[in-house]
């Protein structure tokens, strides 16, 4: 018998050949049953798309809150008047002004983790320029406000310490006020406006800040020196009473320490002895964002559960269709074994079919997830942020789910008895 010279492959090359042939057979088997394969992939597609859209919306919301917090101020800590009981009359937070300018001074002196501190009082009042008028929030603040709230001026300048000390009649306008009092393109700097019949010289215009996280237009305001505000605008009976103190912690990490130091500084200033309740409250933006973060976490977990169930159902679908495929192709499996396929070749064959099914489903799911994310951003105008990590994880999970659920049918195929399989009708 004449044997032609046959070149043989090394182990690595043979493995590479097997992988290639196996992938080709798997792709062909799936293509032959396109309709069935497509329906099988649907679970995977929906699961992966849901994960990606969910993470994108969640991260978009997180980023939005983050940006809001950053725009409110850098590492900001707020002190507001607390519940007090005076002579039997009880009042909730902010009901009585228990904070004073001296509290601000105490914080400035005694708290090393705070880099800047300011206080404010606000009152709604009519502002008049020429024949235009606008009702807005007049806010009396100190010059450090610009630094604490991280809110620069767009034109002109913020008022100075000297103007604060001398109770100068100067004002810095928010963008909304400028839009409502001035003609488009007109520079308000050096014009004169009237608040409660008192003329104020406009020295600066604040940069636009937009809405706060609770939906308030932050640009609808007029900033005046605190001393001027209490004397000229609010007509305060007692000088030095403040509504709110804003402090800026040295770093984000220093916020908890700053909160503690501020609390003890103000307690000392208020002569609150050990065991007595505070008559003020110290809050951070984390406290305020906490509630919405908790809600979004619940929502995120819920969506994760739905996505997991979808992937699970998708995986079971793949297992089901592979079991059908193994039964249908019993004779083929028997034949492949008879002509030299080892058990692991058959195992690999069906596993790769599961992997191709689930990875194709995953890939389509990724595309759909990106599309849905884009649509949500476009139609619902929600902030979204596509995360490459979530895409990669969703894709890998889909592949793993396929291989996991494909294992049982593949093992069943690999353990078929070739003689029985060849006789299968």
């Amino acid at each position: 018998m004449t044997q032609p010279a046959v070149r043989e492959l090394g182990n690595a090359a043979q493995a590479a050949k097997l992988v290639r042939m196996t992938a080709r057979v798997a792709a062909r088997a799936i293509w032959r049953n396109r309709m069935r394969s497509g329906l099988t992939m649907l679970g995977m597609i929906i699961g992966v798309a849901a994960v990606i859209a969910m993470v994108s919306v969640g991260q978009g919301a997180d980023r939005f809150v983050q940006e809001q917090m950053e725009s409110f101020g850098t590492n900001i800590v707020m002190v507001i008047p607390g519940a007090v009981t005076s002579g039997g009359a009880r009042s909730g937070s902010g009901g009585a002004s228990t904070l004073t300018v001296s509290d601000t001074e105490a914080i400035r002196r005694g708290v090393s983790d705070v880099v800047a501190v300011t206080h404010s009082r606000r009152q709604i009042s009519q502002v008049i320029y020429g024949n235009m008028n606008w009702s807005t929030v007049i806010q009396g603040v100190t010059p450090e406000f610009e630094l604490v709230r991280n809110w620069p001026v767009a034109s002109g300048s913020f008022f100075t310490d000297r103007q604060e000390k001398t109770a100068a009649k100067v004002a810095v306008l928010g963008q909304t006020v400028v839009r409502n009092l001035y003609a488009p393109g007109q520079d308000p700097v050096d014009t004169t406006i009237r608040i409660k019949n008192v003329p104020f010289t406009v020295v600066g215009v604040l940069a636009a800040k937009g809405q706060s996280s609770w939906g308030q237009d932050q640009d609808d305001c007029v900033m005046v020196p605190f001393s001027t505000a209490e004397r000229r605008v609010m007509g305060a009976a007692i000088l030095g009473s403040v509504e709110m103190i804003f402090a800026s912690a040295r770093t984000t990490a220093a916020i908890p320490a700053a909160v503690e130091e501020i609390t003890s500084a103000v307690r000392q200033q208020h002569h609150i002895t050990h065991g007595e309740e505070d008559d003020f409250t110290v809050r951070t933006l984390e406290d305020m964002a906490g509630a919405s973060a908790a809600a979004s976490k619940v929502m995120g977990n819920l969506l994760l559960v739905i996505a997991s169930i979808s992937l699970l159902v998708g995986g079971i679908g793949i297992m089901n269709i592979l079991l059908v495929s193994v039964t249908e192709r019993t004779r083929e499996i028997g034949l492949r074994m008879a002509i030299g396929a080892k058990a692991r070749h058959i195992l690999l064959q069906f596993l790769s079919e599961a992997a191709v099914l689930s990875l194709t489903g995953g890939l389509i799911g990724v595309a759909l997830g990106i599309l849905v994310t884009w649509l949500i951003g476009r139609l619902a105008e929600w902030p979204t942020a596509l995360s490459p990590a979530s895409i990669a994880i969703a894709f890998l999970v889909s592949g793993s789910v396929g291989v996991f659920f494909g294992f049982y049918p593949a093992r069943k195929a690999a353990h078929l008895d070739p003689i029985e399989a060849l006789r299968w009708e």
Binding site: M337, I339, H345, P418
Partner: protein
């Protein structure tokens, strides 16, 4: 004397069928040399198919020995037997067992997947095998476009593609009419004469069996007649 290609000694195979057991083979002993063309005949249930499965390394005997080219098969694991089936044995089945919706040449290529042939050589080797059965012009056709005889020739090409030492044909003409049957048998006859390929053919048809050089008859799991027995007894008596 050189080692015979097949040496089977006192082979038994017992199946459990529910509570009962069936003795499909009850102590068969035979040797087949390289280059022989042997027909195995017998009624259905006589044990000839069981013997074929064992000779093809698809099944293992309950007791007894089977040496293929001097290698004891019963002792080998599944993977090694798969390799032997791939490299040294070619199978032809009654119902062809071609993959549907797969072209003739791809069907012929199939055993090369599991062997060491480089990918680039697979197609040419499959084409050579198809040429040996005279079907080069049908390479791109799928089984449903081929006649029964053509399908069996494709299956024969698939069996030959790895240059086996042994061709096992289990009722290869069972699904064919008498004229195509004769063609297939003639082709086997020719392969045996020109290439010296060892062929073991199972058939219940005495006419087909007559084409072989040696006929072994089975009944109830035992050999009842072997046309070469007298000669062999003379040649290999201890």
């Amino acid at each position: 004397m050189t080692e015979p290609l097949i040496a089977v000694t006192d082979l038994t195979r017992r199946y459990a069928v529910g509570e009962a057991t069936v003795d499909a083979l009850r102590g068969a002993t035979l040797t087949i040399d390289r280059g022989e063309f042997v027909a195995i005949t017998g009624a259905s249930g006589s044990g000839k198919s069981t013997l074929m499965n064992i000779l093809g390394c698809l099944d293992r005997p309950t007791s007894g020995g089977y040496r293929l080219s001097g290698v004891e098969i019963a002792a080998l694991d599944g993977d090694t037997r798969a390799e032997i089936r791939n490299r040294r044995i070619g199978f032809v089945f009654q119902n062809f067992n071609l993959l549907s919706r797969t072209t003739a040449i791809e069907n012929v290529e199939l055993p090369l997947f599991y062997g060491p042939t480089p990918l680039a050589e697979q197609r040419t080797r499959a084409a050579d095998a198809l040429a040996r059965v005279g079907l080069t012009h049908r390479a791109r056709h799928v089984p449903s476009q081929l006649s029964g005889g053509e399908q069996q020739r494709v299956a024969l090409a698939r069996a030959l593609v790895n240059e086996p030492e042994l061709l096992l044909a289990d009722e290869p003409t069972g699904n064919l009419d008498s004229r195509t049957s004769a063609d297939i048998v003639a082709m086997l006859r020719d392969l045996n004469r020109t290439s010296g390929l060892t062929i073991v053919l199972v058939t219940h048809d005495p006419e087909i069996a007559a084409a072989a050089d040696r006929v072994i008859s089975f009944r109830d799991g035992s050999i009842v007649a072997d046309s070469a027995a007298p000669a062999r007894a003379r040649g290999s008596a201890p």
